[in-house]
């Protein structure tokens, strides 16, 4: 009987892992340079961490892997984490709340129950959380860090889409809907229904006139938004603060040469978002997203602390990273061949080669995957080493490991 892997999961082959680690390494490198510190939270969390109002939408909660713990007679359920931001907010409250500012990053997997098994149930992401700042500058810092990391991965053409949770909420309120309806439609938008806002008819005639224009996608929106603000200040005062935030952010982005699309209807994200929502796309595929979540820390019992963060989807990035740009692929590969009698010498020379920065593999008598590299034969008589080059099978002789390393340095 052939045992198959669980549906909705994937194996990462050596080639996949090379890409995975590359994504991780580039992301870590950029995050560290921006002053972020790495954290890791547990895979298991209590369910109730995620059920609080304003954390996950009911539709997302319905797809959480949750089960009774070993002491589940108490009814306590645990989950495989469906999200990383909420656990990090918990971690911040648990052990770091003395810090006024925390710049944190992570590489972690999340789990979501996906019935058909056609989509991944385990998803990897790398992300950053900036807790304590709460300003347009902080939001733009995160967008810049994400964009830089993506550029570092060789993904040059990234589309940035912006929306604003606060703006969406004020608009929903202006339609004269019940609080329940407002939450339901907000959740639809968060779950990715981009037509949800456009379907509504505003109660306020003034708003009805401007709404289609406001919901239209635009680039370089700063000037337009200022006009809108002037207009709405008379009629819909509540729109002001959210509009100001968006204006500050897009102005800062524009001043730094970032291009973006403002699309209020595209609010895909988490219910904990309170301010700007940003999403990254490459070739039409969403590769990451984030936003401001000013209420989350206090909802979880911490102080009134603003925060924002983003995550990049490693599984999707892996398909877009060009192999040629991978770190480590530059290291030269040497296959060390030896008969059983000289195996000790083979291990010694392989060790020296590794110290000198080469990848040295002991030949185990089975064909290795197709790789271009040098072959080093270790012999029990002179010449002790014969080095065969990857190109045209040139042969070089050497008597010491130092000579081998010198030869590789010269000929490679």
């Amino acid at each position: 009987m052939r045992v198959q892997k669980c549906k909705g999961t994937r194996d990462l082959s050596p080639a996949d892992m090379t890409k995975f680690r590359w994504v991780e390494a580039v992301f870590r490198d950029h995050s560290l340079k921006w002053g972020y510190e790495e954290v890791r939270t547990p895979t298991l969390e209590y369910l109730h961490l995620f059920t609080a109002t304003g954390t996950l939408t009911p539709s997302m909660l319905g797809r959480v892997y949750s089960f009774l713990d070993w002491d589940g007679w108490s009814g306590e359920r645990v989950v495989l984490r469906p999200d990383v931001t909420i656990p990090i907010a918990r971690l911040y409250i648990d052990g770091m709340s003395d810090r006024e500012l925390a710049r944190l990053f992570y590489v972690a997997n999340t789990f979501i129950f996906e019935e058909t098994g056609k989509k991944n149930r385990e998803r990897w992401q790398c992300g950053a959380e900036l807790i304590g700042a709460g300003s347009a500058t902080a939001d733009v810092e995160l967008i810049a860090l994400a964009t830089e990391a993506l550029r570092g991965l060789g993904i040059k053409k990234v589309d940035l889409k912006l929306s604003h949770a606060g703006l969406i909420k004020v608009l929903l309120k202006s339609f004269g809907l019940s609080a329940e309806e407002q939450t339901r439609i907000f959740d639809q938008i968060l779950d990715g229904d981009e037509a949800a806002l456009a379907r509504l008819k505003p109660a306020e005639p003034e708003l009805a006139g401007v709404l289609p224009a406001l919901l239209k996608r635009r680039e370089k929106a700063a000037d337009y938004l200022k006009e809108v603000r002037a207009k709405f200040n008379r009629h819909l005062v509540e729109l002001g603060p959210s509009l100001d935030e968006v204006i500050d952010i897009v102005e800062l982005l524009e001043s730094q040469g970032y291009s973006y699309i403002l699309d209020i209807t595209s609010g895909t994200g988490f219910e904990y978002y309170t301010g700007v929502i940003f999403q990254f796309f490459a070739g039409g595929e969403k590769i990451g997203g984030g936003g401001r979540y000013d209420d989350l820390v206090s909802l979880l019992g911490g102080g009134d602390i603003p925060a924002s963060g983003f995550a990049l989807y490693i599984d999707r990035l892996m398909g877009r990273v060009a192999m040629g740009t991978l770190a480590g692929s530059g290291a030269k590969r040497v296959s060390v061949k030896a008969s059983p009698g000289v195996m000790k010498a083979a291990f010694t020379v392989a060790g020296l080669l590794r110290e000198a920065g080469y990848v040295a593999e002991i030949d185990l008598g089975r064909p290795a995957p197709e790789r271009r590299g040098w072959t080093l034969s270790v012999r029990d008589k002179a010449p002790r080493f014969i080095l065969t080059g990857p190109v045209k099978q040139q042969k070089f002789e050497a008597d010491t490991a130092d000579e081998v390393i010198a030869l590789l340095g010269k000929k490679g």
């Binding site: 059920t51 609080a52 109002t53 009911p58 319905g62 002491d71 007679w73 108490s74 009814g75 019935e115």
Partner: protein, 471 residues
Amino acid sequence: MMIKIALPKGRLLGETSALFERANWELSGYQEKIRFYRFECGRFPGLSAKVFHEKDIPIQVAVGNYDLGICGLDWAEELLVKYPASDLVKVKDLGYGARALYMAGSRRGGVATIEEVKEKPDTVRIVSEYPNLATAFAAGIRLKRFCVFPLWGAAEVYPPESADLVLVPGDKGVVSLDGLMVMDKILDSTAVLIANKTSWETKDMKEVLASIYGSLVDGQGQPGPVAVVVTETGEQYCPPQVDGDIVRLALADGHQQEPTRQLLEKAGITVNDYPSSSQNRRPVVGLDGVAIKVIRPQDMPSQVANGNFDLAITGRDWLKNHLYQFPQSPVEELLDLKYGAVRIVAVVSNDLAIDDAEGLRHLSAGRTEPIRVASEYVNIADKYARDNHLGHYRVVPTWGATEAFLPEDADLLIENTETGQTIARHNLKIIDTLFRSTACLIGGKDTAFSAVKNRRLGSIVETLRRAVEVS
């Protein structure tokens, strides 16, 4: 063309049987007090029917064991709310068996509305036979912290002491639930015809469907609106005083009531109205400082473990089933009550040339499909399969009528039996005995009580011990 249909036993049996009688299906034997679970259909020779507990039917149809099924809409929704991509099509509202699912609390629970429940600072405890619908409801109204306890039954007796909210079915029009207060209606339910999605798309079932539709009674198929009228029935019960020294004792409903009453009587403990002809689940006991609730024996171990009850009289089978899932659970057997003896056995079809667990291992090794183990005792079944290295296996949870699963819908049953006669009648054989089970008194482990309560607990255990010894 072969068509398989899954039919309900229990509350929908009468009207479903009448429907097929009108449709001239000639399902002889599909009537009250059924002895067999399999029926051929006189009118459609290619059609075969099997009887299940209503709750099992949507699952059996969704996994493709049956093309069609009849069950309450509530059970179909209980499946679909958690697994919306199930291969299940709701084909036709059959109109009868109307009831509704209500989210209710206790009149004495101190909260009257959902909004008030949401304001509760501590964990909201919800009990239900419909755990998926209850969970979806709790997530939907954004309860901040909640626990859903799946139950086998008797949910209505839990609030307010043992639960804050209860999701229960009530008869259409009148919710006659003692002391309960309806806070929200979740769903109107009637009997529905359901189909497996693939069968629905690929099989020609026109004639069969036409005969069902043509036999619906006028007015069926369009249930009217359900009015919620809350009435109280039964004796007014006085909630136990908020007194930490009260001993909370759970007694079983079902067929163990009579021997339990006899034992209590022998011990000199009088319980008024148990067994109850009016479904009274709060009988009054002639012991100071003791409050009784009548619940399902299956639910007792977890209810003792979570502290809702101090003592309970259940079967060792259910205690073990609980402890296999939660080995650290703080519940233990205090006293073997010696009555209600059954064997927990492994059962296969007579047609299988298997006589022991070794044979099961060979069966498992020799085929690519998993061994399907059907049982009401999910954790006992799981442990048995694990301990016997059955390789690739699946435990199919059932809610009764488990014999019906063999041989088509399961390979192995883990069942209880008193005499083995029911098993033999269904052309099945016992290949292994797991353990013997009798009624037992269970209680919490290492729980710190006041001296008063400890004295009360000790005295009940001692009184029962003496009664067992003299019997």
